[in-house]
Protein backbone atom coordinates (compact mmCIF):
# COMPACT_ATOMS: atom_id res chain seq x y z
CA UNK A 1 0.00 0.00 0.00
CA UNK A 2 1.35 3.40 -1.04
CA UNK A 3 0.00 6.90 -0.67
CA UNK A 4 1.38 9.40 -3.17
CA UNK A 5 0.49 13.04 -3.47
CA UNK A 6 1.08 16.11 -5.59
CA UNK A 7 0.13 19.72 -4.84
CA UNK A 8 -0.86 21.84 -7.80
CA UNK A 9 -2.58 25.26 -7.84
CA UNK A 10 -4.36 24.87 -4.54
CA UNK A 11 -5.44 21.30 -5.20
CA UNK A 12 -3.95 18.27 -3.48
CA UNK A 13 -3.96 15.21 -5.72
CA UNK A 14 -3.65 12.01 -3.74
CA UNK A 15 -3.18 8.58 -5.21
CA UNK A 16 -3.88 5.42 -3.17
CA UNK A 17 -1.99 2.46 -4.61
CA UNK A 18 -2.12 -1.24 -3.75
CA UNK A 19 -4.59 -3.08 -1.50
CA UNK A 20 -6.44 -1.26 1.28
CA UNK A 21 -7.79 -3.58 3.97
CA UNK A 22 -7.75 -3.69 7.76
CA UNK A 23 -4.03 -4.45 7.92
CA UNK A 24 -3.18 -1.31 5.96
CA UNK A 25 -5.77 1.07 7.37
CA UNK A 26 -3.68 2.70 10.12
CA UNK A 27 -0.75 3.27 7.80
CA UNK A 28 -2.96 4.68 5.04
CA UNK A 29 -4.75 6.95 7.49
CA UNK A 30 -1.52 8.43 8.88
CA UNK A 31 0.01 8.89 5.42
CA UNK A 32 -3.09 10.75 4.26
CA UNK A 33 -3.22 12.86 7.41
CA UNK A 34 0.40 13.94 7.17
CA UNK A 35 -0.09 15.06 3.56
CA UNK A 36 -3.24 16.97 4.54
CA UNK A 37 -1.31 18.70 7.32
CA UNK A 38 1.46 19.79 4.95
CA UNK A 39 -0.57 21.88 2.52
CA UNK A 40 -3.08 24.67 2.46
CA UNK A 41 -5.46 23.41 -0.22
CA UNK A 42 -9.05 24.16 -1.09
CA UNK A 43 -9.71 20.79 -2.65
CA UNK A 44 -8.49 17.20 -2.45
CA UNK A 45 -8.74 14.75 -5.33
CA UNK A 46 -8.42 11.12 -4.20
CA UNK A 47 -7.36 9.05 -7.19
CA UNK A 48 -8.14 5.33 -6.89
CA UNK A 49 -6.97 4.20 -10.32
CA UNK A 50 -4.04 2.26 -8.80
CA UNK A 51 -6.01 0.84 -5.88
CA UNK A 52 -6.43 -2.81 -6.83
CA UNK A 53 -8.44 -3.84 -3.77
CA UNK A 54 -10.50 -2.17 -1.08
CA UNK A 55 -13.08 -3.48 1.39
CA UNK A 56 -15.34 -1.67 3.83
CA UNK A 57 -12.36 -0.78 6.02
CA UNK A 58 -11.50 1.66 3.24
CA UNK A 59 -14.91 3.31 3.56
CA UNK A 60 -14.11 4.06 7.20
CA UNK A 61 -10.74 5.50 6.25
CA UNK A 62 -12.23 7.72 3.50
CA UNK A 63 -15.16 8.99 5.57
CA UNK A 64 -12.86 9.67 8.53
CA UNK A 65 -10.60 11.81 6.36
CA UNK A 66 -13.59 13.55 4.78
CA UNK A 67 -14.86 14.63 8.22
CA UNK A 68 -11.53 16.19 9.14
CA UNK A 69 -11.21 18.01 5.83
CA UNK A 70 -14.77 19.27 6.09
CA UNK A 71 -13.80 21.05 9.32
CA UNK A 72 -11.23 22.95 7.26
CA UNK A 73 -13.87 23.64 4.57
CA UNK A 74 -11.96 21.58 2.05
CA UNK A 75 -13.95 19.70 -0.59
CA UNK A 76 -13.04 16.13 -1.48
CA UNK A 77 -13.72 14.24 -4.70
CA UNK A 78 -12.97 10.67 -5.74
CA UNK A 79 -11.57 9.72 -9.13
CA UNK A 80 -11.19 6.50 -11.12
CA UNK A 81 -12.37 3.70 -8.81
CA UNK A 82 -12.33 0.14 -10.17
CA UNK A 83 -15.68 -1.49 -10.81
CA UNK A 84 -15.80 -3.37 -7.53
CA UNK A 85 -14.60 -0.41 -5.45
CA UNK A 86 -17.15 1.75 -7.26
CA UNK A 87 -19.83 -0.74 -6.20
CA UNK A 88 -18.76 -0.50 -2.54
CA UNK A 89 -18.64 3.31 -2.60
CA UNK A 90 -22.07 3.50 -4.23
CA UNK A 91 -23.59 1.01 -1.80
CA UNK A 92 -22.32 2.88 1.24
CA UNK A 93 -23.33 6.32 0.01
CA UNK A 94 -19.78 7.69 0.00
CA UNK A 95 -20.43 9.64 -3.21
CA UNK A 96 -23.01 11.80 -1.44
CA UNK A 97 -20.12 13.18 0.65
CA UNK A 98 -17.30 12.91 -1.87
CA UNK A 99 -18.61 13.02 -5.46
CA UNK A 100 -17.09 10.86 -8.15
CA UNK A 101 -15.31 12.83 -10.90
CA UNK A 102 -13.58 11.95 -14.14
CA UNK A 103 -9.91 12.85 -14.40
Amino acid sequence: MKVKHKFLKGVLYMSLEGELDESKSLYTRSQMESAFDSYDMSKVVIDLSCLSFMDSTGIGVLIGRFKKLKERQITVVIANPSRSIDKILTLSGVYSLMPKVEY
Binding site: E22, D55, S56, T57, S82, S84, I88
Partner: protein
Protein backbone atom coordinates in the same frame (compact mmCIF):
# COMPACT_ATOMS: atom_id res chain seq x y z
CA UNK B 1 -27.43 -35.05 3.87
CA UNK B 2 -24.27 -36.37 2.30
CA UNK B 3 -21.77 -38.14 4.48
CA UNK B 4 -18.16 -37.04 4.42
CA UNK B 5 -16.93 -39.95 2.32
CA UNK B 6 -19.27 -39.05 -0.51
CA UNK B 7 -18.06 -35.49 -0.31
CA UNK B 8 -14.41 -36.49 -0.56
CA UNK B 9 -15.22 -38.64 -3.58
CA UNK B 10 -17.33 -36.26 -5.58
CA UNK B 11 -16.73 -32.66 -4.74
CA UNK B 12 -13.77 -30.37 -4.98
CA UNK B 13 -13.09 -28.85 -1.59
CA UNK B 14 -10.46 -26.97 0.41
CA UNK B 15 -10.28 -26.45 4.16
CA UNK B 16 -8.18 -23.72 5.70
CA UNK B 17 -7.41 -22.94 9.32
CA UNK B 18 -5.94 -19.55 9.95
CA UNK B 19 -4.99 -17.26 12.85
CA UNK B 20 -7.38 -14.30 13.12
CA UNK B 21 -4.98 -11.53 12.17
CA UNK B 22 -5.65 -8.67 9.79
CA UNK B 23 -2.34 -9.48 8.11
CA UNK B 24 -3.89 -12.82 7.04
CA UNK B 25 -6.81 -11.18 5.22
CA UNK B 26 -4.92 -10.90 1.95
CA UNK B 27 -3.95 -14.58 2.17
CA UNK B 28 -7.55 -15.64 2.83
CA UNK B 29 -9.18 -13.69 0.00
CA UNK B 30 -6.47 -14.68 -2.46
CA UNK B 31 -6.65 -18.35 -1.43
CA UNK B 32 -10.40 -18.38 -2.05
CA UNK B 33 -9.89 -16.61 -5.38
CA UNK B 34 -7.23 -19.17 -6.37
CA UNK B 35 -9.65 -21.99 -5.56
CA UNK B 36 -12.15 -20.47 -8.01
CA UNK B 37 -9.67 -20.18 -10.90
CA UNK B 38 -10.29 -23.74 -12.11
CA UNK B 39 -13.81 -22.86 -13.23
CA UNK B 40 -12.63 -19.84 -15.19
CA UNK B 41 -14.46 -16.96 -13.49
CA UNK B 42 -14.56 -13.40 -14.80
CA UNK B 43 -12.31 -10.78 -13.23
CA UNK B 44 -15.38 -9.05 -11.81
CA UNK B 45 -16.69 -12.27 -10.22
CA UNK B 46 -13.31 -12.90 -8.63
CA UNK B 47 -13.11 -9.43 -7.15
CA UNK B 48 -16.65 -9.79 -5.77
CA UNK B 49 -15.63 -13.01 -3.99
CA UNK B 50 -12.40 -11.47 -2.70
CA UNK B 51 -14.24 -8.47 -1.28
CA UNK B 52 -16.88 -10.63 0.45
CA UNK B 53 -14.22 -12.92 1.99
CA UNK B 54 -12.23 -9.93 3.18
CA UNK B 55 -15.34 -8.56 4.91
CA UNK B 56 -16.01 -11.87 6.65
CA UNK B 57 -12.43 -12.23 7.87
CA UNK B 58 -12.30 -8.60 9.04
CA UNK B 59 -15.46 -9.24 11.02
CA UNK B 60 -13.88 -12.22 12.79
CA UNK B 61 -10.60 -10.44 13.47
CA UNK B 62 -12.08 -7.19 14.74
CA UNK B 63 -15.46 -8.04 16.19
CA UNK B 64 -15.40 -11.71 17.15
CA UNK B 65 -11.87 -11.77 18.56
CA UNK B 66 -11.45 -8.01 19.25
CA UNK B 67 -8.03 -8.03 17.62
CA UNK B 68 -6.68 -10.61 20.05
CA UNK B 69 -6.41 -13.47 17.56
CA UNK B 70 -8.17 -16.82 17.50
CA UNK B 71 -9.09 -19.63 15.15
CA UNK B 72 -10.83 -19.02 11.84
CA UNK B 73 -11.88 -22.00 9.73
CA UNK B 74 -12.67 -21.64 6.06
CA UNK B 75 -14.41 -24.43 4.14
CA UNK B 76 -14.71 -24.14 0.39
CA UNK B 77 -16.73 -26.47 -1.80
CA UNK B 78 -17.27 -26.14 -5.55
CA UNK B 79 -20.45 -27.80 -6.86
CA UNK B 80 -20.38 -27.49 -10.63
CA UNK B 81 -19.98 -23.72 -11.02
CA UNK B 82 -21.37 -22.76 -7.63
CA UNK B 83 -19.00 -21.83 -4.82
CA UNK B 84 -20.03 -22.56 -1.23
CA UNK B 85 -17.97 -20.76 1.41
CA UNK B 86 -18.25 -21.30 5.13
CA UNK B 87 -16.22 -19.08 7.44
CA UNK B 88 -16.37 -19.96 11.14
CA UNK B 89 -15.01 -18.22 14.17
CA UNK B 90 -15.20 -19.25 17.81
CA UNK B 91 -15.22 -15.73 19.18
CA UNK B 92 -17.72 -13.81 21.21
CA UNK B 93 -20.67 -14.52 18.93
CA UNK B 94 -23.58 -12.36 17.91
CA UNK B 95 -26.67 -11.58 19.96
CA UNK B 96 -28.89 -10.24 17.21
CA UNK B 97 -28.33 -11.84 13.80
CA UNK B 98 -30.76 -9.43 12.11
CA UNK B 99 -29.15 -6.34 13.55
CA UNK B 100 -25.64 -7.04 12.25
CA UNK B 101 -26.96 -7.32 8.69
CA UNK B 102 -28.27 -3.76 8.74
CA UNK B 103 -26.23 -1.17 6.85
CA UNK B 104 -24.10 1.07 9.08
CA UNK B 105 -24.51 -1.15 12.15
CA UNK B 106 -21.22 -1.49 14.02
CA UNK B 107 -20.18 -2.76 17.43
CA UNK B 108 -17.48 -0.09 17.47
CA UNK B 109 -19.12 3.27 16.77
CA UNK B 110 -16.16 5.24 18.19
CA UNK B 111 -13.77 3.91 15.62
CA UNK B 112 -13.76 4.63 11.91
CA UNK B 113 -15.90 1.61 11.06
CA UNK B 114 -18.37 1.78 8.23
CA UNK B 115 -20.73 -0.94 9.43
CA UNK B 116 -21.11 -2.06 5.82
CA UNK B 117 -19.45 -5.48 6.04
CA UNK B 118 -22.51 -7.72 5.93
CA UNK B 119 -24.32 -5.44 3.48
CA UNK B 120 -21.37 -5.82 1.12
CA UNK B 121 -21.22 -9.62 1.58
CA UNK B 122 -24.93 -9.80 0.83
CA UNK B 123 -24.79 -7.71 -2.30
CA UNK B 124 -21.59 -9.21 -3.71
CA UNK B 125 -22.64 -12.84 -3.22
CA UNK B 126 -25.80 -14.70 -4.21
CA UNK B 127 -26.60 -15.91 -0.73
CA UNK B 128 -25.59 -15.00 2.83
CA UNK B 129 -26.63 -17.11 5.81
CA UNK B 130 -25.54 -16.36 9.37
CA UNK B 131 -25.68 -18.89 12.17
CA UNK B 132 -24.12 -19.70 15.50
CA UNK B 133 -20.96 -21.77 15.53
CA UNK B 134 -21.38 -24.78 17.77
CA UNK B 135 -19.84 -23.84 21.10
CA UNK B 136 -20.08 -20.10 20.40
CA UNK B 137 -19.00 -17.78 17.64
CA UNK B 138 -20.34 -16.89 14.23
CA UNK B 139 -20.60 -18.97 11.07
CA UNK B 140 -20.94 -17.09 7.81
CA UNK B 141 -22.15 -19.08 4.81
CA UNK B 142 -21.95 -17.54 1.39
CA UNK B 143 -22.82 -18.84 -2.05
CA UNK B 144 -21.64 -17.54 -5.41
CA UNK B 145 -23.08 -18.90 -8.62
CA UNK B 146 -20.60 -18.22 -11.41
CA UNK B 147 -23.25 -18.75 -14.06
CA UNK B 148 -25.50 -16.10 -12.56
CA UNK B 149 -25.75 -12.81 -14.46
CA UNK B 150 -23.87 -9.89 -12.98
CA UNK B 151 -25.83 -8.17 -10.26
Amino acid sequence: MKNEKTQVKKENFVKIQVQALSSNEAFCRNAVAAFCLSIDPTVDQLSDVKTAVSEAITNSVIHAYRGGGGLIEIDLVMRKRVLHIEIRDFGQGVVDMEEIRKPFFTTKPDEERSGMGFTIMESFMDELILSKTEGGGLTIKMVKDFDEEEK
